[in-house]
Symmetry: C2
Subunit: 355 residues, 2 copies
DNA sequence: CTGTTAGCGCGTTCAA
DNA sequence: TTGAACGCGCTAACAG
């Protein structure tokens, strides 16, 4: 039995739309208009426009002419309803499109689903869990064919609800918690481990960690990778050097500055995502010639131009989106023969800049 | 009479979707299911779920309970069809979501239209004019309520066709050509003029120009601003110093390198967008200590971190998207009382980095 | 206050 | 080869 939803907020969103003018008949020609002009029944017109071969070439031509003259376009809304299929739409749920990570992801998703004749509906939640809940309910109500999501927090019950409603969900960059769904992950642990190990090789062992809030899966996995590398080298994790919770560069700059101001400051920093790396970079620059090594997860444009050595964990962000799109497309075609949930892990590699 | 469309490609896209499984009844509960469970007619259930006051509290409660138990969500597809209104979707047509300019624009658009209960469908055309034509036809067929577009080229007949079909179109960053539509522009001329004047003030007069293809409105406007500033200072435009056509940083790097290799190279470069500025930056860096001043249109993240003086024409990209969203939302509400096309110009200002 | 009828635009089914 | 009836899920307009 599907969980009851919150009807308040979802209805509020609908109401806003319902206030649009009632008269909205835009005079787009319908199948009947085409049929009349061609002197045939709507049914025949429908057949012609769907390339049904069972039509006399002569009538076919007449219908085509009529359709072109009228500028007819089939109403996809009516088609969706009639065919009982979905809408040909895929919902994409992200927290912040302004972050290049998410826009690349969106690009990858859209390119793949586009090849399957699907379009992408974006939903930007701005880290707001409540907004995310409403968004998901709305996407389900709109009968999207599937949803690709990067949930903002650890609570994924709204995603589970969508799955229970029969909507295929693919998670990107986070694993499903408490329900079955396909997902595409980045090798968070491995990448963070490798970057930290690289810093250790260079003789650092007081390595600070800057990361996203603990509720974010990538953040904690990358923290685990960092901690594991330290442990393997025989160094205990010093919680004074760990700062989680930064979502924006500005916050990261502040957190990094605090670490640098410690009595025994770290000699290197590892940042769990591009926002934190950029923030830490600014802190280092403000600190003047602080001789602190910098490493981070996520490659980004102009990383090579910052004028300081930088070790980054790189991976193919577009591919992350494309893989998610492929998983979803597979589900849509194979609904009859469902396989178990699939998990794809995108590999990472280290890149060195400015050396 | 609307122009006849190309039925081939549009149909091809539909066909891909039509190959999805036929059985797709996802068993989502319908209004009738709710009504039956509550022991009322579908009509009464409908009324309750739309907060129609004309219902006995007791029945209202029964219906609510039934809906919750079933996890009922109104089918927005059916609602759209029945109400003859749009779909609550806005089409956003851009060339490259990976360019921060477009992702910020998308964010701005989505935030505003979201407040009106609308969702954004993205269409990334990758500079492909043919893809853009198909995309527009598809959006119209899907009965989006409106379209916000940054057309890739000078040919806007497909946009005019959408307008002729009664779909409100708002252009962002380009003016309409040959038809009436609202638009939001950046002060291209003024910004380019100001940046070039700044370079002239500093004693430069051999100033190279790097820009997008001539078909792109912003590129030519910004070229005009650059040329005007030169002319006002008494310098003729030297076409050897003008390189148009670069879309990606890599191309811009090459073009910049060519300018720098001229017998009498420019002493400064003005770039008409962020892609060209970043490309030119790399060329300067590769050229070693080349003492060439750099200016460009568009602010971008890390522009302050490049370690060289940089003059940028900045403006509020999010606001560009938000303004476009507002224009569209206004149209949707005011369809009854149409005003003439509106044009909004977003102002620019100069920022100096690395000095 | 509640139910019936009808139809949005299209496509499946069956009959002609 | 073509057409008429019916229904997808929902709601406006009118009963009762």
């Amino acid at each position: 039995m599907p969980a009851p939803h919150d009807p308040q907020s979802a209805r509020a969103a609908r109401d806003a739309r319902d206030r649009l003018p009632r008269d909205a008949h835009r005079g787009q020609p319908t199948l009947r208009d085409v049929a009349e002009r061609a002197g045939v029944s709507a049914m025949t017109a429908s057949r012609v426009l769907r390339d049904d071969p069972q039509v006399l070439p002569a009538t076919r031509a007449r219908v085509r002419a009529a359709a072109d003259a009228l500028g007819y376009r089939p109403n996809e809304v009516a088609r969706s309803l009639r065919l009982g299929r979905g809408t040909g739409l895929v919902g994409l749920v992200v927290t912040n499109l302004a972050n290049p990570f998410y826009s690349r992801l969106a690009l990858g998703v859209d390119s793949v689903v586009g090849e399957h004749g699907l379009k992408t509906v974006i939903g930007n939640t701005g880290q707001d869990l409540e907004a995310e809940r409403e968004l998901l309910a709305d996407l389900v109500a709109r009968r999207v064919d599937g949803i690709i999501a990067v949930p903002a927090g650890a609570d994924q019950r709204h995603l589970a609800a969508a799955v229970a409603d029969g909507v295929p969900v693919v998670l990107a960059s986070r694993p499903p918690e408490g329900f079955a769904a396909d997902c595409v992950l980045v090798d968070d642990f491995g990448g963070a481990h490798a970057a930290t190990a690289r810093l250790l090789e260079r003789g650092h062992h007081r390595i600070g960690f800057l990361g996203s809030p603990p509720a974010v899966h990538t953040g904690t996995e990358r923290l685990r990778g960092y901690a594991a590398a330290l442990a393997e080298a025989g160094f205990a994790l010093d919680t004074h050097l760990v700062r989680q919770g930064q979502t924006e560069p500005r916050q990261a700059t502040r957190a990094a500055a605090e670490l640098l101001a410690l009595p025994t400051p770290p000699t290197a920093l590892f940042c769990s995502n591009n926002r934190n790396t950029i923030g830490a970079f600014r802190a280092l620059r403000e600190a003047g010639g602080a001789d602190v090594a910098l490493a981070g997860f996520d490659d980004f444009e102009l990383a090579d131009a910052l004028g300081l050595p930088l070790t980054l964990v790189a991976y193919d962000t577009d591919e992350l989106g494309r893989a998610a799109g492929r998983l979803l497309a597979d589900r849509l075609h194979d609904r009859a023969a469902p396989t178990g949930p699939r998990e794809i892990v995108v590999p990472t590699h280290l890149v060195e800049y400015g050396m």
